[in-house]
Amino acid sequence: MYCVRNVTDDIYWIGANDHRTHLFENIHPIPQGVSYNCYVLLDEKTAMFDTIEWGQGRQMMSNLEHVLDGRDLDYLVVNHLEPDHAASTGLILSRYPNVKVISSEKCFMLMHQFGFDVDAHEQIQVKEGDTFSFGKHTVTFVEAPMVHWPEVMVTFDLTEGVLFSADAFGGFIANDGKLWSTDVDWKANNLDEIRRYHCNIVGKYGPHVQLLLGKAATILDKIKIVCPLHGLIYHADDDLMTYIDKLNHWSSYTPEEKGVLIAYASMYGNTESAAQALASAICEKGFTNVKVCDISETHVSYLIADVFKYSHLVLASPTYNLNIYPVMENFLNEMRMLNMQNRHVAIIENGSWAITSGDLMQEFLEDEMKDMTVMNERISIASSLSGDKKRDVDDMAQAIIDSMEEVTCDPAKRFEKKQH
């Protein structure tokens, strides 16, 4: 059964909702599913904007055939070649032998690498600033390198102000019929999963998201609707600026809010006890925006999302075979790979005979990551936190609260020189 929704009179959403995939990219859990969005334009010519993941190809075809209602498909615009969007390209190419493919140079290169028989079709290679008319609708192409692949472009329909934004503005959670951001309370219910999507998928490429935001800013008054490849679509006059503000924070590695994520690893509960004591001490002093996570029990994609959100991070780790506890080491490495930067970090270390995890974590934060402020206060636990260390816990709590003053949540001030 087809399942489509109108975006404008001429443009249709013909994507699919996926609840059967448990791990997005085979890494990130998606308990609330994900949607793959693609769109079709009915004009003097017909044009499709991207396709979807292979597993949902049948749904897309039935949607497309319904909307075309017997017309041929004249053009396929490919903005992004990652298989969650482009895997069904082959299906379109074989089903519509006359379809002409519009895409970027690097995208065509990748099509060949992924094995799509694109050479049997007319190929229209476009670059930044080119325009193309389908009749009433004229579109222009804007390159968006490394958001989050090199071939990516976004397509802007100059006629109706619709931006096909590829993975930018995407998010987890399947749409399940609700298409517009106004159909849900997205800030309350979807934002965490939008953040988790963006930070884990695009997080590393902040400067390139900024580059794209800069380009978008020049046509901001012309953008009416944003159609990403995952999740909800946005009216410009509704929630778009809120989303842009979030993107601006994430891509400049500016915390969204002053708050503390206490991420602990604990083998037998002793490190956990210290983490909890610290959380209590911070709250006791009146600062309650504190989140505590057992990292052995929390998928790292959630931790990453929270690190992007909060200004402060406390890492509490046992020493394990003279090293950082492996789960903590993995978390650190994920942060490094995603280019996480500009956070205050306090360290709690534990060990029963040779405590090394604190120094190793500090070395990693200082040498492998950028602009991380490792606080002088460190809690060093010999097996379990004894009562006489209460002072250390209070000192760290106070230092964390005091250092909130050093933090800015304004992306415009992100790269201002800090006064020490």
Partner: protein
Amino acid sequence: MVRPMTGFWSSKKQKKSAPPSDKGAARPVKPVEPDREPAPAADEGEDVAKEPAHLKAEAAAPAAEDAPQRVEEPAAPAPTPVQNASQKETKEEFGMLYQTTEAHEKLRAEVRAFAESEIAPIAFQLDQQNEFPTEAVKGYGTHGWMGIPYPKEYSGAGLDVLSYAIAVEELSRVDGGAGVILSAHTSLGTFPIAEFGNEEQKRKYLVPLCTGEHIGAFGLTEENAGSDASGTQTTAVDKGDHWLLNGSKIFITNAPKADTYVVFASTAPELGNHGISAFIVEKGWDGFTFGEHYDKMGIRSSSTAELIFNNVKVPKENLLGEEGKGFKIAMATLDGGRIGIAAQALGIAQGAYEKALAYARERIQFNSPIGTNQGISFKLADMATKIRAARFLVYSAAECKQNHVPRYGREAAMAKLYASDIALEVVNDALQIHGGSGFIKGMEVERAYRDAKITTIYEGTNEVQRIVIASYELGRLGKKKETGKKAAKALFGPVMPATGPRKLKIFNDADQQANVDAVVAALKADGYDFSVGIPADTPIVDAERVVSAGKGIGDKENMKLIEDLAQAAGAAIGSSRPVAETLKYVPLNRYVGMSGQKFKGNLYVACGISGAKQHLKGIKDASTIVAINTNAGAPIFKNCDYGIVGDVNEVLPLLTKAFGTEEKQPAGEMVKIKRPHMPKPDPIGPTMVCSGCGYEYVPELGDAEAEIVPGTLFSELPSDWVCPECAEPKDNFVDRTHLGL
């Protein structure tokens, strides 16, 4: 690499037969340049064939051994000047005579006569009394020897580098100190201005240096910077209309006699060698003082002292060369300076040899001169051979410099290395030939023995000369390339004070009361409570606060100032090592330092302590270090949280009063006070992110595979450089700090 070899080193035969090179320069003579420019096989054969004839011709010179001046080959009869030789087109065998010109020998004779009449008679006195030959040095000037290799338009003599080397050699032949005065003046103090100065600077400084009205000196070496200039801690801060110079230099030849100093200071400490700039500094400027004249083992007639810069205002126009190019200037200067030291070593050896030769003829044992003993005569033969070899190296290096032979630093280093190494051997043998007489003060060989030693040390130790030579020979094999973030941290990371991260707030107001008030206010803001205190005899390791006295405290009665301050600060009393060990003002167990007691408490007040390494390491754990010292360049100020530049006699009573002299309440259990964050170094340039793959170009790291050295800015990358990961061109990168909105 065709090296233009003009003048008398060139073989006429080769000039004629050599194939024309692209630059039209003559091919170098084979024996001089065996590795760089192999001559055709036929030429080589001819060279070898001609060698004996040439040697014979040379051997004729010392035949005049019984002439009044019995010296080696520079002796009379005057060698055939090259001009004459070159005119004899038909006598090709003379074309390869390695000889000086008539003019060179005339100059040699003049300098020698001057040295023997003006310096030799007082040399022993100069040595004994550590005395600078002021009158003689004036004489250098009146004879026109203070600017030998510099153009006449700046009052130089307009002669060649070899003439200068001969002058140094001849002075050193009589007195090593007299020689180095001219060497340091000419190649270290004057050369940088002649070579890198602008017209105005040359008019102002070069002219009086060349006339001898002024003496020049060169300030590079520091406590932590010698062969490795990147450790330079003297700083020059841009203050708009002037540079503010602070720091100190050690072992400076000609200080404090010199009038003009070329001083190297860091204008951008984070850039290491690339942040060093050169300045012309005049004696007499406010804040520019000298340490004690060193009590040296040898060359005692040359003056050597420490330079101390305490807020010295250097006018903008006294920046020498470009900002940040100081390292290049220093290296270029040292390349040439080595020729001077080589000539000095040669002269010392020559002088000692002549004395030994004379002694071997005069001293009779077993009814004949000891020179008839093979044990002695063979020594003399070896000495003469070594000196001759050294002389060729020195003169050749001087010629290379004169003719701007590229990379002549190799020849200069070889000359310095060899001449100084053999100088030690020659003076040792010369003293040995003298037997017990040579061991007595007043004997020239005894002085030469001591004078020679420095030549293997200064202007680059001979170990460093070998590094230089090897690097020319091997190319840039260098060390295994250090890459990665750790290497970058070592290269570009901040210089961590020996005491760890410190606030480094120095109060240098003219009003000491204001300085004291500022420090006490800062301490109170840090959490110090001066209504409580600990007994003055609390063991250092247990003390929460210590007031410590250094040598700067002066006389013993000034310890009262320390006692009063300790009482007011609620602190125990400590000291630096010399105060306990040498001056014995306090018991030995009160001195603080790595070798003494370690201080682990909160507040450490260092009074008149300059900050020796071992002392600084002993106060690493202090939460707060306060320093009071008259010398703004003292290391303690680079290791403290709060510093007051001033006299302890003035500052300590003010501090005592500010802390309060009332009876202190007993302090409770010590609470450690927090330490400051170590600020991270600013990046040297933008990190750029590839738009083809996300690779980051970090200038501190460079790109080892593309042979881009660490420290190369993105803008400095060659235009054909591409992303090492995905081959994206250079123009497709974005600054990591780019903000789009």
